[in-house]
């Protein structure tokens, strides 16, 4: 149970956002991203910040978990900020040698950074409040219409959820194997590239064998329970929109309208 949900950094608390239908959250994330590209002045970013803050507050996930996702894009953030800062032409406010900072540059850099940060935080809200399984369920149902054009939506979703389910298991397994080999004096850290690649053999062989064994076991267990793919398959807990989803959808539309509106405020 514990390790089942550590992937995708799901944060287990009970909140409105957690209980929301995954489809609503997917839609919400999508609309939020679109809305960020509507914003082009301080009012737009202000509105987005307010909306995001409200959602984070409602989700009851501590802010420090939100910020964690930002670490991954820090380099990207720095690069894009400095490019915008130094390479935008306009009214020069500061200059050392050939490097000059313009008023427009500061403005675009700041908005760029905000956009990127909001983007990451917005999608973190979704991954932190939705288990990988809910997410694939939501995708399966939300994209169900693609079935008609021949995309095997159920199969893809099933593969996704199995893969997601297995990643933490394999990580844990790799950890155990590594320890077992380290107990026999294996060294995974030092040496040159060739030596290091070679030292992976004692880790990879047992890991692959275990992955294949698990895969056959799982396939067998699924077949023993008459799994035949998506056709005619029903769900124990079918996704159904609740009142809170309807309310959130209205809120989302209003939010998008406000964001578009801010473009006309000067």
């Amino acid at each position: 149970m514990l390790r089942e949900i550590t992937l995708g950094q799901y944060y287990p608390v009970d909140s409105v956002i957690h209980r929301m239908d995954p489809r609503t959250k997917l839609l919400g994330t999508l609309l939020f991203i679109i809305s960020l590209f509507c914003a082009d002045n301080i009012w737009g970013y202000g509105a987005a910040a307010l909306f995001l803050a409200a959602v984070i507050k409602l989700s009851r996930v501590p802010f420090k978990f939100m910020v964690r996702g930002l670490k991954a894009v820090l380099v990207l953030l720095l690069i894009s900020v400095s490019f915008n800062l130094f390479l935008t032409s306009g009214q020069v406010i500061f200059q050392i040698g050939f490097l000059k900072i313009t008023l427009e540059g500061v403005r675009t850099a700041a908005f760029m950074a905000l956009r990127l940060i909001f983007l990451v935080l917005g999608s973190s809200v979704m991954t932190l409040t939705t288990t990988p399984n809910e997410l694939t369920d939501g995708l399966e149902k939300g994209l169900g219409f693609l079935n008609r054009v021949g995309v095997p939506v159920h199969e893809v979703a099933m593969m996704m959820s199995i893969a997601l389910r297995f990643i933490p298991i394999l990580i844990e397994e790799a950890d155990k194997i590594m320890k077992a080999q380290m107990a026999r004096g294996a060294d995974f850290e030092s040496g040159n590239l060739v030596q290091r690649a070679k030292s992976m053999v004692p880790l990879l062989v047992p890991l692959f064998i275990s992955a294949f064994r698990r895969a056959t076991d799982l396939a067998m267990a699924m077949e023993a329970r008459c799994y035949r793919g998506g056709e005619g398959r029903t769900k124990m807990k079918p996704l159904r929109y609740q009142k809170r989803d309807r309310v959130s959808q209205v809120v989302l539309v209003l939010y998008l309208a406000v964001m578009i509106g801010t473009r006309f405020v000067s």
Binding site: Y11, K176, K179, A183, G185, D187, P202, P206, I209
Partner: protein, 293 residues
């Protein structure tokens, strides 16, 4: 010369939503040459504890001393520690990887940087100790039965010639004969070479028979640390932790409840047999029993 744990605490996933105390202020000192049993219900922290003893896991707080040296001191040679404190994991599948049994057992001693001849000598001896003869040398370790895999895994660690040998449930998946053979070998290593042995087990019978000291873990804390005899006397407390005493203890207790004055510290079948026989007037053992039969 000893292993000494001071306030050893381990928290998995510290600083995340999944924080879990696996060890809480564990203290003990293990002298050279002891045979220690380690028991506790599933999830009580046994595997976590033993992985600290060879430095695979680092304690969240607390210290660990091997032969008086703090292993968390900067510059401490972990690799040397791991070749002195051998650890056999719960699942042999986690360590078998070579094309044949013999090379797999050679992996440990080879990592210790020994010469080829010595490596092979060690491997041969280790395989003999666990009862696998030359017909197994060329077999793929993946085609062996569960019990045979386990023996190869144990040999793989024995071949490193450790001073302390820790085994995490080494008898799971072995038949009774295989179990007695492995445990018998461990006892011989303990007796003849003075090897310190730490045995994690769910079998109270095995513990009663082989261990001379018993450590009981419960929810990450050390709750008992005494001779098996004394610990099993508190069988009621053990039961409340999801453990039990050996079957014989229950028979002895039942006899005492019936008013039969039998010693309540008996924990092995042999001891109980002798005590009961001497009570009904027969001195000891099989020979007299046979004459009477």
């Amino acid at each position: 010369m000893s292993i000494k744990a001071v306030n050893l605490t381990h928290i998995y996933g510290e600083g995340t939503a999944f924080e879990q105390y696996a060890l809480r202020d564990v203290n003990f000192e293990i002298e050279d040459g002891q045979f220690i049993g380690l028991i506790g219900h599933t999830g009580s922290g046994k595997s976590t504890l033993i992985q600290h003893l060879n430095g695979l896991l680092k304690a969240t707080s607390g210290e660990l001393y091997y032969n008086g040296e703090n292993i968390y001191a900067p510059g401490y040679d972990m690799k040397a520690l791991r070749s002195k404190v051998g650890l056999v994991f719960q699942y042999p599948e986690h360590q078998l990887f070579e094309v044949d049994v013999f090379s797999d057992v050679c992996f440990g001693p080879k990592n210790q940087g020994l010469k080829k001849e010595e490596v092979e000598e060690r491997a041969r001896k280790a395989l003999e100790l666990v009862g696998l003869d030359e017909s197994f040398y060329a077999q793929s370790p993946f085609e062996l039965s569960g019990g045979q895999k386990r023996r190869v895994a144990i040999a793989g660690v024995l071949a490193m010639d450790p001073e302390v040998l820790i085994l995490d449930e080494p008898t799971a998946g072995l038949d009774p004969k295989g179990r007695d053979e492995i445990l018998g070998q461990l006892e011989r290593l303990h007796r003849d070479r003075g090897m310190t042995i730490i045995l994690v087990s769910h079998s109270m019978e095995d513990i009663a028979r082989y261990a001379d000291r018993l450590i009981v873990m419960n929810h990450g804390e050390k709750v008992f640390d005494d001779t098996p005899r004394n610990v099993f006397r508190s069988y009621k407390e053990l039961e409340s932790m999801g453990l039990a005493a050996p079957q014989v203890t229950y028979i002895v207790q039942a006899l005492r409840r019936e008013g039969i004055p039998i010693d309540d510290s008996l924990i092995t079948v042999e001891e109980a047999r002798d005590a009961i026989l001497s009570m009904v007037g027969l001195k000891t053992g099989r020979t007299e029993k046979k004459q009477n039969a």
